[in-house]
Symmetry: C2
Subunit: 346 residues, 2 copies
Amino acid sequence: MEGGGAYNRSSRVQAAGLLPAVALLEDAALKVRLTAGSAPLVIVDYGSSEGRNSLLPIGTAVSALRARAGPTRAISVVHTDLPDNDFAALFRTVESDPETYLRDGATFVSAIGRSFYQQLLPAESVTLGWSSWAVQWLSRLPAPIPDQVQVAFSKDAGTREAFARQAAEDWRAFLAARGREMCPGARLVVLTMAVDEARDFGYRPLLHAMYAGLEDLMAERFITADELHRMAIPTVGRSHDDLAAPFVNAGSFAGLSPSHLEVFQAEDRIFNRFEGDGDAQAFGASWAAFSRASVFPTLAAALGGGRSDARFDEFLQRLEAALASRLAAAPTHMSIPLAKLLLIKA
Amino acid sequence: MEGGGAYNRSSRVQAAGLLPAVALLEDAALKVRLTAGSAPLVIVDYGSSEGRNSLLPIGTAVSALRARAGPTRAISVVHTDLPDNDFAALFRTVESDPETYLRDGATFVSAIGRSFYQQLLPAESVTLGWSSWAVQWLSRLPAPIPDQVQVAFSKDAGTREAFARQAAEDWRAFLAARGREMCPGARLVVLTMAVDEARDFGYRPLLHAMYAGLEDLMAERFITADELHRMAIPTVGRSHDDLAAPFVNAGSFAGLSPSHLEVFQAEDRIFNRFEGDGDAQAFGASWAAFSRASVFPTLAAALGGGRSDARFDEFLQRLEAALASRLAAAPTHMSIPLAKLLLIKA
């Protein structure tokens, strides 16, 4: 993710896509088993980024739990992300945003800067879990991608297989860790990138324009062929069956059972707005800003000097401009396949 | 604090000063009342900075609690600091430092980026508290300091009075918030800057050299008189009686009673090393690096452009060089008055 609040500012695609999952989370908060006694109710936001897109779902969950548990029961909200996440932006957002959930005097915030592919919290301590636009990020890049930055558009069968194996392993690791952390009766809602019934990852014009933009930067000798070859986004779209696989044999995995699992198409708000106003430049700029905030820093990390490469900022700017211009030339609807799940701990 | 790991690298003064308080904390961990049941034991580190100086005390406390509570009882460590603290450095330190306390599979870390002058955690949820080199930072600058950057060396009685009032108010606010958060029987160890029986704040040659260095930067027209006037470090040294004041009437305050309260002199390791090796340059450089990491960013925030002022980095460098050179010219022992307290919740 790009830090400095960029992800907070340019994540409207994610914000639109998560709305159907917020309804699942609200329902989970209304039905989840509440532990007796006065111990805090713990809500965990797995993969929070800078927090802006967490305020609506977490606020909804806090309101539902608050109504059930009364005004004095403590609710602890824990946001997790990788150590290099911009936690300053997260804490400022939660402290100061008018939409914050932190206003009833009995709700508290904390953060954990560690990978969620391991156990992050004490066993049986979590009441309600939420993870949005996060588990599509693999724990590691399993292989270079020879002909694209997103494996879904690679023609290399071996690479696609390596990513599929890593995706299956990471999904089980994520579920196993959550299964340990969740209280009996706890609920977890997951929203993640998916592939549709035709195994289409979506975003096709965007990814093709991004790769073409990178090839332009190479032709202009701004980046080298080696650098382009190293660039890869370690994300995957999972199918309905990929997501269901751990549960197929026993009906549950790590104590978790899926109560809801659905692949759906998110609304493409950027194209909808273009259909309304015909502004092709704004169309291109919006998708380019989305891409910059969510994946350009990952690509730029493959520059020879890594994150301290002198070209880092210019790389972000030039690729954003190239992408905006290519997309503005031919605005089109983008397929955005997502999956939403509700998992219940026995 | 300076981010990017600078505080972690240049805080040996603080590391030496906290050793006597670590002994208090270990004793507190061995004696503190442990809640029955399986709920996590919560250790809070109030004002963690980037975490390096927390590893020894928190590791000591975790070991003591672990021995008493058994291998599977969850221990949650919570580090708090202001929102703009470098939490990435904190999480990397806790994850990767060879001295980390995070290695038994039942100990967990999280962080809170909010001011500790308010309640940060659920009521009666904290087992053991630790705060080192932190509560000397006031919640706000109560007044400009007309003739120094550190109020202890100001000759302006009104300014000194305004700081004293704020210091008393903040100390009560800190205690009141901790009193709410701590479990019955919980213990809190505090190490903070103090003044000795003669009300001497210490660091006299350092603060005089720092102010002279700033006056040089003004004479060289690198900073303006207005900027120098705005520069102030919002820290205070409290006396034994200042720290005892909230408890004097009733013997307790916010449910907390002092079981130990002592002002002492920390070892001046920088001067000791100079006495051993006679290296005046290293003497000056060490105190300058300490000052840069702990207070220069606070001074630099008073530049016309604030933290994004184009002179920010050069200001840190020039002031560090000026301070190092002045101190190297006349190495001398530095008085370092500190206070350590053990507070017990009824």
